[in-house]
Symmetry: C2
């Protein structure tokens, strides 16, 4: 049974297809390719020093993630993310993170609870010092802990799917003293609600946490990173 628990990250680390997949996903999300730009199998393959086979397999995954669209016998085209898409994603995430917080309240283990408290404590330190790299890292980890604690592989899968879309933007938005501290304060309140077993409150706070993150992003015009 345990052998089925191998994580996707591990799964792809050493395969050419996995490398191609990650590279292309990063490049698309970072805006290296224009919207609707065509991706040629041979060109990508030569760039990464691999044949078309792993490239094509990576394409199928990217299509399912909604990052490219494949038209049969024609080509693979980058599907851009509009401002509206980002807004929609944050609204959907707001709901799902709320549900996640509620379920986490009901299922969190002692170990996860301790890591969460430690996370908030450490983040407070780095926020004060202005260590934005570490703060972004801890922010990501906080959410991952919650995803794991909710004890639902379906919800975890959904949220992690979204997560990739907002990773880059979030790192930028946290590079800002006010939001950095504010975000961690919100984490702390969520953590306390979970610890106290107050699922209703945890859900509400997690909802607001995502809404606030989006509002902050819009205020600073930082979603333009998606637009190029």
């Amino acid at each position: 049974m345990a052998k089925f628990d191998v994580k996707q990250e591990v799964t792809d680390k050493f395969s050419l297809r996995g490398r191609v997949f990650k590279k292309l996903r990063d490049d698309i999300l970072s805006g290296k390719y224009e919207e609707h730009e065509e991706l040629k199998e041979v060109a990508i393959g030569e760039e990464l020093g691999v044949s078309r086979t792993p490239v094509r397999e990576a394409f199928r995954q990217l299509e399912l993630e909604g990052l490219i669209q494949i038209i049969p016998n024609k080509g693979a085209y980058v599907t851009g993310i509009t401002e509206k898409d980002v807004r929609d994603i944050y609204m959907i995430r707001s709901l799902l993170e709320g549900l996640c917080a509620r379920w986490a309240t009901e299922h969190i283990t002692k170990e996860q609870m301790e890591e969460m408290e430690e996370n908030v404590y450490l983040a407070k330190f780095h926020a004060d010092k202005g260590h934005w790299e570490q703060l972004a890292e801890l922010d990501n980890r906080f959410h991952d802990i919650m995803y794991e604690a909710c004890n639902s592989k379906m919800l975890e899968h959904q949220l992690k799917d979204f997560h990739q879309y907002v990773l880059r933007v979030r790192k930028k938005t946290l590079n800002n003293a006010k939001r950095g501290s504010k975000s961690n304060e919100e984490h702390e309140k969520i953590m306390e609600a979970i610890r106290d077993g107050n699922a209703e409150l945890a859900e509400k706070l997690a909802n607001e946490h995502i809404s606030n993150a989006y509002a902050n992003m819009v205020q600073n015009g930082l979603y333009e990173a998606y637009q190029k």
Copy 2:
């Protein structure tokens, strides 16, 4: 621009990979394969009369949909859906369908509104007559109309992903006079709320609609279709 609007359904219809993908997805969802059963590339290929290449590409998509797990250099294993997964899916869907109804209220076009009214009207007829096939078809279509009307490709994508998981179960649960009529009455109320521009009510009703569908399913023990 228009050429990018080609639907996924069309995209895969004529490729071997698309056929393999659909076949395997159906077989997994219908329970043809046991949980944790290993899928061999050559065996699948021979069964469908194709080589390993399209089979492998289909595997990558199935993995991303969460239906199989691929362990490098070992094999592809079916990831089963537990009762808890089904429950989680319905809870998540309840939230997202609610959001969808809210957005649909704000963005539905006249044409979509008319198709929705026609759908409810027709479904009433088939529910009375006990035409379960047509009723299931109309039920699916009702939700698809709402997905399109919400005007969010991100949310639509999410909901359609879930939809496949519940399609078979839903068809069974509707094969039941009481639920069939009740479901359509709920559709009618949602439709009216959308028509009246009452987004709050539409969201609430859509939430409840999915919850009721789940409750009905549990009551009838029909999710066992997933368990095999």
